[in-house]
Amino acid sequence: MKLFLSMCTALALSSLTAFAQQEQFSSAQIAYDAGRYAEAVLLYEKILDQGIANPEVHYNIANAYFKDSDLPKAVWHYQKAWYEMPRDPDVKANLHFALNAAGAIEAKPAFTERLLCSLSKSEWIIAATAGYLLLILLLLLLQVKTSRRLVVKLCLVPLGIILLSTFGWLRWNQLQTHPDWVVVKTEATALFGPVKGSTAHFKIPIGALVRQRSIDPKGWVEVEYDGKQGWLETEYISRISP
């Protein structure tokens, strides 16, 4: 009885929370539609502060930031949404639009990069799991009197899926070591070395996306932008990927 009651309480609480989040989401949309972008940002931020990580929230808050003329934060949230919805045309279009508005140059990914980014990390894991289950199923089939040759040939399909998924997973895992950063300050100039007063190499516009190459413990990050590498102080950039 006690267990039933506690389960009912938990269910009711979660429904209430979900309802409150739904309310905030709707209010934020109303504020956005009314042109009160700062208010919309605040409402979306509240949802995110509750630990909600739906890419839709990141996308919408990015839109609100964009309209509120905060390009770096807009790009930050668009990119965050893109990690979870890499094929979503709206996310891609808006990120592209925001980067263009910032005057930033977008990286041109190679074919393999595009292929591996066609699924999100979770999707690659689902694909790998499906491949794994299919492989187990086929191996179970091998125990039964069936055409062994055909089954062995069929095993190549899940093996291929697992292999491709591993590469996809590794691609996303690279973000741990080479995370994406967004430039949050104007006059960001990448230098040739991780020392103040080092020779200026190239300028990066505010709102541009850069990829980390290496890091210096004294507060410098070697970034790659438009095919060039240079050192930026961390105060100029904000880390996006985990």
Binding site: H96, G193, K196
Partner: protein, 585 residues
């Protein structure tokens, strides 16, 4: 007698326990040394404990703390304990020196301590007044005011007066700029000569290195060259109880590390100007040449053309990024990559570009701009245009290329005039842990289950196949089960008081168990056949077989109560079969 011995012993210990008064003393040994020798300074806390003293610097002496030791002695029935702090004193010039006064605190109060040391000229060289006259180093630069990232040469000369023996090893410890240098300096001995300076012959070692800075400003170089001087050990003794520089195997010489004096070199590094920097500047600082090769020169549309760009000369080659080829709708450009080259004074980049149509007649000019450190201005070297002959591609390929929009067209299409509108609320609210569902332990367990199933099924199938191919093994597995079945029948018969059925079941239990166990045909089960494999249970088996057979053929027992006998027989059968089950055949 026994009491008097005890009294004497107690008196001895009591006297030994009488300690001297607390004191602190400073001593130096020896008090007279030559310039290349060393002395040991000791601060002794007698019957007291004390920390190491901070000995003030004395011009011409280098005083290094070496450690602490303690000792206890009993002299004339008086116990003395000491805490000794030891310092190694190395002179750098001749003269009379006073070490201290320094105040030592101990339990008896404060005491001022000092020690005297006389340093005389070395026996081998009566002229030298200081070590810096015997050996020293000089550093110089080949550039007065280099630019940032511009490599410049440093030369370090080590002068050693003729007659001074060294072990030939140099180490450079510190004295270099801490910030702004691009990597650590690597020194290399390039020359060793003899040179006369003011009428004295010196052996001169020349070391060179190349420095490069990341920032502009004044960089000070005053390297501390440490080398080991070999000193004959005659009339000397080794003072270093923890001195790592021991003499040779026979103790005839000792090695003494010496840090040489060196001049102070200040290099003013200039910044690369920002004004007048061309767009095609890719970080090159120095004096360079630029050469471009393009090939093949006759291609079909859609086929790659390789552009090889070589930058050679003196400067920061490793920091130069590839020169940019002007973006054009006529070409598809791939990223440039660095190609390995045998020439250390050269860097080579390779970039692939693909002409999109046969209207292309040349590869556009490629510019390389660098900062010339000699003329202190930016120079641009332009190569090209490079004529190429592009033929039309076969129809199919041409169509493919034609459908690929250029980057700019694509942008125009995608961008529109505003961002895409908001997304509707999600069906389910997810938090961070929901997004990382694959990290949950339950997920790992669920993933392990199919594998477990596979292992179980594979194992089961393998066992089944094995039993199918091995009849003896299969029958062996069946034996206990078959026997159990017959034992159950016997129990039922016993309850019904059906003696013939009971004994028949007992016989069947024996026959089926041993038939399966020994892989025998039904009629082949006999006591002899069974005993040949189960000799350990011979007695029980004989009795069991005999009784069961007798009862089957109607020979009654002498016992009046047949039910008791049946019970006993059934029990014996079960026990015997269990015992046989444990016997390996």
């Amino acid at each position: 007698m026994r009491n008097s011995s005890l009294l004497i012993l107690c008196s001895i210990f009591a006297l030994a326990g009488t300690a001297r008064a607390a004191d602190v003393q400073m001593s130096i040994e020896p008090q007279l040394i030559s310039l290349l020798d060393r002395a040991v300074l000791k601060v002794e806390f007698i019957n007291a404990s004390g920390k190491a003293l901070d000995i003030p610097q004395v011009d011409g002496l280098n005083i290094q703390y070496r450690g602490q030791s303690s000792e206890t002695s009993i002299v004339n029935m008086k116990r003395t304990s000491k805490v000794v702090h030891t310092y190694l004193v190395t002179p750098s010039k001749v003269g009379d020196f006073t070490i201290g006064p320094v105040t030592a605190q101990y339990k008896g109060g404060d005491k001022e301590l000092s020690a005297q040391l006389r340093v005389i000229k070395p026996r081998d060289d009566k002229e030298a007044q200081a070590i810096s006259e015997l050996m020293y180093s000089q550093i110089s630069s080949d550039r007065e005011a280099p630019h940032v990232q511009e490599p410049f040469g440093l030369t370090l000369k080590v002068f050693i007066r003729d007659g001074v023996q060294i072990d030939g090893n140099f180490s450079i410890r510190g004295g270099m700029p801490e910030n702004g240098m691009d990597g650590e300096l690597q020194w290399e001995i390039v020359n060793r000569t003899r040179q006369e300076i003011n009428g004295t012959i010196f052996g001169v070692y020349t070391l060179v290195s190349t420095a490069k800075t990341l920032t502009a400003g004044t960089f000070t170089f005053q390297p501390q060259v440490q080398m080991n001087v070999i000193i004959p050990r005659q009339n000397r003794r080794s003072y270093g109880f923890d001195d790592p520089f021991f003499g040779d195997f026979f103790g005839r010489q000792e090695t003494r590390p010496i840090v040489l004096d060196c001049n102070r070199l200040e290099v003013n590094v200039r910044a690369v100007p920002v004004t007048g920097r061309p767009d095609s500047f890719t970080g090159g600082i120095g004096i360079f040449g630029f050469n471009v090769e393009v090939g093949p020169k006759e291609v079909k549309a859609g086929e790659p053309i390789t552009v090889k760009m070589r930058i050679s000369g003196k400067g920061n080659l490793s920091q130069i990024t590839p020169p940019q080829i002007e973006e054009s709708h006529d070409f598809k450009l791939y990223d440039a990559r660095t190609v390995a080259t045998d020439n250390p004074n050269e860097i080579c980049f390779e970039q692939v570009l693909i002409p999109k149509s046969d209207s292309v007649t040349n590869v556009p000019p490629i510019k390389f701009s660098y900062f010339n450190t000699k003329t202190t201005d930016f120079r641009t070297i332009s190569q090209g245009p490079f004529p190429v002959q592009v033929e039309a591609a076969p129809q199919q390929a041409a169509q493919v290329i034609a459908t690929v929009p250029s980057t700019i067209q694509q942008e125009t299409k995608i961008l529109g005039r505003d961002i895409v509108y908001l997304k509707p609320a999600p069906d389910h609210w997810k938090n961070e842990s929901d997004l990382n569902w694959y990290r949950k332990p339950l997920m790992r367990i669920l993933l392990a289950l199919p594998l477990l199933l596979l292992i179980l099924v594979t194992g089961g199938t393998a066992r089944k196949n094995k039993l199918a191919n091995n009849v003896a093994l299969a029958r062996r597995q069946k034996a206990p089960k078959a026997a159990r079945k017959q034992v159950q029948l016997a129990e039922q018969s016993m309850r019904k008081q059906d003696e013939s059925a009971f004994y028949e079941a007992l016989w069947n239990a024996l026959a089926e168990y041993f038939g399966h166990r020994l892989n025998l045909a039904p009629g082949e089960v006999s006591l002899q056949a069974v005993l040949s494999s189960f000799s350990d249970a011979e007695e029980d088996l004989r009795a069991l077989f005999s009784v069961v057979e007798q009862r089957r053929y109607g020979i009654q027992s002498e016992q009046e109560n047949s039910k008791d006998e049946m019970k006993s027989l059934l029990h014996k059968l079960t026990a015997t079969l269990k015992a046989c089950e444990r016997i390996k055949v």
